[in-house]
Symmetry: C2
Subunit: 283 residues, 2 copies
């Protein structure tokens, strides 16, 4: 708890607490979905887009959907008096069921948590760029789980454990060698004036800022392609950048020894994302 706030940091089904019952299926099986939301000056960015993806994830997992105004009210309670930080929302299937088989119609467990931002989180990375490296850990393919932000994240944990430098992001491939995403970011390439990003119908998380980039690209004269990408094609790109809800956009300075230009397109998308984020602030 931050010392100057009187609000709780975690709400589970509306109650201040810091723990979860052992029999919650979120713990037992990773049976749930979550969102990681950037909070600026006490206001969430892209709130409606996050809720929409949470709902899509719930539908895919056949989780019941809680009242949205309740989720909103709980988020508002948690952010009251806050400044900058991260709001996380988890929705799990709750306790019960016969082993893996869930109980039909059960209301999910809602968990909301606010964490104040760490001071000066890698601010120069946004201008200097990060190094991207290919992870050995692969992302298994499963169309039923692709695109949503579910709680089965062991592949990302193993991949993130492959290196320990803060300015390196791991690039994850599927078992056939198609590029999918960074361990915590989506990836974009600029090649001959085209914006190219991996198809995520078999693996990967379809990020909120990825969606914003694709929407913004439609307002420019940059042709967009969402399709399978091989490493060889990626290495022939002119620019490369990464996105997620907390960092917005990081340019990539190199991948496997191949150097990319930093800008101009990454700069343009960075400005567009920042403008959209500012406009989206609030509930």
């Amino acid at each position: 708890m931050t010392p100057n706030r009187m609000t709780p940091d975690v709400l589970v089904n509306g109650q201040p607490t810091t723990s979860l019952p052992i029999d919650d299926r979120g713990f037992r099986y990773g049976d749930g979905v979550f969102e990681t939301i950037h909070v600026c000056a006490g206001a969430p960015e892209f709130w409606h887009a996050h809720l929409q993806r949470l709902r899509l994830g719930a539908e895919r997992l056949k989780l019941a959907w809680p009242e949205e105004r309740r989720l909103t009210a709980e988020a508002q309670q948690l952010l009251a008096g806050s400044v900058d930080g991260v709001l996380r929302i988890w929705l799990t299937r709750g306790p019960g069921g016969a082993g893996y088989r869930p109980v039909a119609g059960q209301m999910p467990t809602r968990i909301l948590r606010f964490s104040p931002s760490p001071a000066a989180p890698l601010s120069d990375v946004a201008t200097r760029g990060v190094s991207l490296r290919v992870c050995q850990t692969r992302l298994g393919q499963n169309p039923a789980l692709a695109g949503i932000k579910h709680l089965n994240r062991l592949e990302q944990v193993l991949a993130a454990n492959e290196w320990d430098a803060p300015d390196i992001e791991g690039l994850m491939l599927d078992p056939s060698g198609n590029l999918i995403e960074g361990t915590k970011t989506n990836v974009f390439f600029i090649r001959e004036g085209n914006l190219i990003t991996p198809d995520l119908t078999q693996a990967g998380v379809a990020g909120i800022v990825r969606k914003i980039v694709l929407e913004e690209a439609a307002h420019t004269d940059i042709p967009v392609a969402i399709r399978p990408i091989r490493l060889a094609e990626a290495l022939a790109a002119d620019e490369c950048f990464l996105t997620n809800s907390l960092i917005h956009l990081w340019p990539v300075r190199d991948l496997d020894g191949k150097a990319f230009a930093i800008g101009p397109k990454s700069g343009e998308f960075s400005r567009r994302i920042a403008a959209r984020a500012l406009k989206s602030r609030g509930f």
Copy 2:
């Protein structure tokens, strides 16, 4: 808690409790492994084999390994005065880390739970057999996670949610159409006198009773093959059976409309498993 026992039902790092901190990585990412152990007359079956697999899973995930005598002492405390039931052991990476990236060398969280058995759980299935049906949900391939019993179980949850009859087990395939396992069981086929079971190096959980079956087969004149199996080959089998630590062995009476013989081999392995389980009881 069962009314006639004075012992707790759950121990988390040795302390009686029923909840887990929200920031435990077992919940946040499914960052951990578990075991489901059959308890008969207060004694665990295949204790050493379960500990061995738990340890293999911990090594694969690069979890630190707790003192085995501590795990054993906690299990003994939990089973004191118990009769029949299920002992579950979870080992998670605990709290902390920078997002997906774990903190090096952190001691894992130990969670042990005892649940008394439900009365008469499907006792006739062991003689009548179950129906096996092919699930639409596929098992993604990942050699880094294959074989171990980790906490990322959404694929099993979705598969188990495809039907709702207690005498049907779902058969899961990988994305290329290779048979891997049941949603909660391993699968074996008998064809022309050979015992065949899927290769689990790309997906699936290598069950304790599966290991026992393979060990016992070596004491018979039945040739064993562990390799990829397609549905067409499975449908041409003479017998089929399923195994796990709680049911030991269930014969399969049919798969997608094709009927299998119940016995004689399933009966022989059933007797051999029961004898090994009895011999293994205790710590």
